[in-house]
Assembly symmetry: C2
Homo-oligomer: 112 residues x 2
DNA sequence: ACAGTCGTGAACGATTGGGTTAACTATTAC
DNA sequence: GTAATAGTTAACCCAATCGTTCACGACTGT
């Protein structure tokens, strides 16, 4: 059973791709703009965008007035899934602390 | 400027390490228990735990009654930071959609 | 038709990352 | 004391990944 966040985390692990995500927070950008903004070559960026597409983090559409350019835009679903995964992990802390205290108290410190 | 989440995401990108995190949600475990649970060798797990330690995702402590064993436990801070990063990205969607609609409307479809 | 632009794909090289086995240290048990 | 255990470190191998350059197909403008 592979979690739905595993592709997302792998995609976001790369600093360039994370930069793309942060860029696309503002507004949709075309591929070449993204490459320029991240100071990477277009072939390299093309592959990064492919990864982001396959994991569903971004969505591509065609610009109506110029069929050569592809405009990229964020998709919310993977982020929502990632957030709920993190929240799930975080949810256990109070219990975790209780368990730790309970464990620590039943042990006596060893002598120095 | 490197974000505080970049180490976190890199650490969580590996399935084994993510498995460790999910295991540690329940309670603290000792290193060898973790290795057994993930079905990986102890040296391999040792290195994974080192990564998790350096990024602050886990915390190591010594077992009082046996100084050989190291018990690992989650730390909340990086998860909180990751969650707030995701929330920041998510926060822009309504604006994003508005921007998209505005953009789309000012363009007329090209002729077939 | 021709030149220029947008983006992708392919082939190469370099780097990184994870796994393995084999020492090695520190601690505990006998 | 010696033997056994917990965990890490070191040296090596293999696979995946990222960037580059070059070539290509699709489209646009003139």
């Amino acid at each position: 059973m592979k979690s739905s966040v595993d592709g997302t985390l792998a995609a976001l692990a790369d600093p360039t791709r994370r930069g793309v995500v942060e860029l696309l927070r503002k507004r949709p950008y075309r591929a070449s703009e993204i490459a320029d903004a991240m100071a990477t070559s277009r072939p390299a960026m093309s592959r990064h965008l492919r990864v982001l597409r396959k994991t569903g983090l971004v969505e591509e559409r065609e610009l109506p007035e110029d069929a050569r350019v592809r405009v990229y835009q964020l998709r919310q679903k993977p982020f929502a899934e990632l957030r709920s995964w993190v929240e799930e992990v975080e949810a256990l802390w109070t219990d975790q602390l209780q368990a730790f205290k309970a464990h620590a108290e039943q042990r006596r410190p060893r002598r120095p």
